[in-house]
């Protein structure tokens, strides 16, 4: 009853505007516009208020607070009296960079990002291209299968991977044994623990990249591909010369979001190795979390901010390298 008249009027409105041209005169009227403006402002702020109240309390305040905390000597003992701490300047950051364990954590995070990110992007892109251009049947089956790990709980997945990687009774080493290979104790070996985490991250995130690339591929006009084919471009050339440049925005998007996630590399080592063996899977965020667990709220905040700065740096770098060059 209520929606019917509005929809007919909406139809008329469209027709009238079409007749009057895209910028109808009614909109330019200044005096009714001003009152309408006031009405809109009031409506907008009342619509924004609930979100902004929660956002201020649980996002903005913690972001600023964390910055201040990293410049103080806040410990867990100050939990109930968080304002009674003293400023110590950049002491926490200095101590952070004097801690060899933090360096190990940064190093592991760097390896994780530098190896894991390109691997994930390449695997996701390859899967997307194969699904979009290569095959025609069962696309949905492959898409759902490749995407399934993305939606999983990391705790559940970690439990499963732990049993998969069991040195003796695990599936991985059983399969390797079929080929006469004696598989190591993956998660207890300093050489293999981090590579295993990287592979697990690729497994978990490949689907996200694939979905975004599939959407990007659909925006590549078919006529362009046909024109390139008529000009004698092979499949390989067509991909690198036509498809790939058009995928640049999608690639940038996935590189940035996956990079942000990977710099915060935390879940896998937290539930599977607790950073071990011998800190070989300790990440920067896990280091921060451990500082929090030890009651060093100041150091935890400082380490968190170092990761934040790294995220901004990586994002800026990716925009520089991958943005459209025209």
């Amino acid at each position: 009853m209520t929606t019917m008249p509005t929809s007919t009027i909406a139809g008329q409105g469209t027709k009238e505007r079409d007749a009057a041209g895209p910028q109808s005169a009614a909109r330019r009227d200044s005096s009714p516009r001003r009152t309408a403006q006031g009405r809109q402002t009031r409506a907008a702020w009342s619509l924004a208020a609930p979100f902004l109240a929660l956002f201020l309390a649980f996002m903005l305040l913690p972001v600023v607070w964390s910055m201040l905390m990293s410049l103080t000597d806040t410990k867990s003992a100050d939990l109930r009296t968080p304002l009674s701490v003293s400023f110590t300047g950049f002491d926490n950051y200095i101590r952070l960079f004097q801690d060899p364990q933090f360096f190990t954590a940064l190093q592991n995070t760097a390896v994780f990002v530098l190896v894991g990110l390109p691997l994930t992007l390449a695997a996701g892109l390859a899967a997307a291209v194969a699904l979009d251009r290569g095959i025609r049947r069962f696309r949905a089956v492959f898409r759902v299968g490749f995407y399934l790990p993305v939606i999983t709980s990391v705790v559940a997945v970690a439990v499963v991977w732990k049993t998969l990687l069991e040195p003796q009774a695990g599936l991985v080493n059983t399969v390797l044994a079929w080929f006469g290979i004696d598989g190591p104790a993956w998660l207890a070996d300093t050489r293999f623990a981090l590579p295993v985490m990287i592979l697990m991250a690729v497994w978990r995130n490949l689907g996200t990249v694939m979905i975004i690339m599939l959407a990007g591929l659909q925006s590549v006009p078919q006529s362009l591909m046909e024109a390139a084919e008529l000009d004698g471009a092979g499949a390989w050339q067509r991909f690198w010369r036509v498809t790939f440049p058009l995928l640049r925005p999608a690639l940038l998007l996935t590189a940035v979001t996956t990079g942000i996630g990977y710099l915060q590399f935390f879940d896998e080592p937290f539930v599977m190795t607790d950073g071990g063996p011998l800190d070989s899977t300790l990440s920067a965020t896990l280091y921060a979390y451990k500082q929090f667990g030890n009651g060093n709220y100041d150091m935890a905040s400082a380490a968190g901010y170092v990761v934040f700065v790294l995220i901004i740096a990586l994002t800026v770098l990716q925009f520089r390298v991958l943005r459209d060059k025209d």
């Binding site: 929606t3 509005t6 009027i9 909406a10 469209t14 009405r39 809109q40 907008a44 702020w45 619509l47 924004a48 609930p50 979100f51 902004l52 929660l54 956002f55 649980f58 996002m59 903005l60 305040l61 913690p62 972001v63 964390s66 905390m69 939990l79 109930r80 968080p82 194969a130 095959i135 049947r137 898409r143 490749f146 995407y147 399934l148 939606i151 999983t152 709980s153 705790v155 559940a156 997945v157 439990v159 499963v160 049993t163 998969l164 003796q168 009774a169 695990g170 599936l171 497994w203 996200t208 979905i211 975004i212 599939l214 999608a250 996935t254 965020t285 979390y289 935890a300 905040s301 934040f308």
Partner: protein, 296 residues
């Protein structure tokens, strides 16, 4: 579309075979690609199959060397014990309640602000948008410590509210809703205004019903995110009555003496099954959200 027209009986059989080959090519693509793709698919789903298989094995068989690929003596003992030993029903209920509350809050608050940012003109709009979007880059661990101090001083660490409040309004939701609502025609809103419809009524009666696809997307993504969230509940939940499923599973799996893989695998199945079903039912919405925003 041309196949039916050209394969009229007057065409020669040679043309027919060429057309058929072309049709196979059009319907199947490059046949050799199915091999590596199937291999990859197998790699991707093996952990899930392994988990299912293990959850039905008796404990003794799980440690067998070499392991059985399928349970030879299938049993429901793990599931039965899971329901018996851990306070499982309450964890499940907590997970559902927290996820539903977080989802409802995000749907409402994010669409409200998303609409204001997409369609209304107001002073400070650009500042609000920039501020909200900028926080998309803030690592969770930066806000973690002050958030913990805050929630613990609000005396919320002993209640489910402490698991819900910090996640009720997320920048991602605003981004998604704003992007979607921007694509709705302005004429619809102008016409309603001419009709004398109030600004809030326009949002509630016209915009909200039209954003159903985006709401579905945001709802599913938020529900899954909340369901899988474990670090915050692990730290904030103080006793077993507030544990969510991932917390229970994480604590059980990290316990020194708890090495019962059968129960852990059964627990994993129970954590993963609801979201897998939700995902399979609504995957279109889910995929649409990822594709438009690039975030999950």
């Amino acid at each position: 579309m041309t196949t039916t027209l050209t394969s009229a009986p007057t065409q020669s059989s040679a043309v027919d075979t060429v057309l058929r080959r072309r049709r196979i090519r059009r319907e199947w693509g490059r046949p050799w690609l199915y091999l590596p793709l199937t291999g990859l698919l197998l790699l991707m789903v093996t952990p899930f199959l392994w988990m299912l298989s293990g959850s039905f094995k008796p404990e003794a068989d799980i440690r067998k060397i070499p392991p059985d690929l399928v349970p030879i003596r299938p049993t429901l003992a793990n599931y039965r014990e899971l329901l018996g030993t851990l306070d499982f029903t309450s964890m499940f209920a907590n997970s559902v309640m927290v996820a539903l509350a977080v989802t409802a809050g995000n749907l409402l608050f994010c669409s409200m602000l998303g609409y204001a940012l997409a369609k209304l003109e107001f002073r400070g709009k650009r500042a609000v948008f920039t501020l909200v979007i900028a926080t998309l880059m803030v690592p969770g661990l930066v806000t973690f410590v002050p958030l913990y101090v805050l929630v613990s001083n609000m005396q919320l660490t002993g209640s489910l509210l402490g698991l819900i409040l910090p996640f009720l309004a997320t920048p991602f939701g605003v981004f998604l809703m704003r992007q979607f609502i921007s694509t709705l025609p302005d004429e619809l809103i102008d016409a309603a205004r001419v009709d004398g419809c109030g600004e809030l009524a326009i949002f509630w009666k016209i915009i909200l019903p039209l954003t159903r696809p985006a709401l579905a997307t945001l709802g599913i993504i938020t529900f899954l995110g909340s369901w899988n969230n474990f670090l915050w509940p692990l730290v904030v939940a103080q006793n077993e009555s507030q544990y969510t499923l991932p917390v229970g599973l994480a604590l059980a799996s990290s316990g020194q003496d708890f090495t019962r893989f059968g129960i852990l695998l059964a627990g994993s199945v129970v954590v993963l099954l609801p979201v897998t079903i939700v995902f399979l039912l609504f995957q279109r919405h889910f995929v649409a959200g990822i594709a438009t925003t690039g975030l999950k």
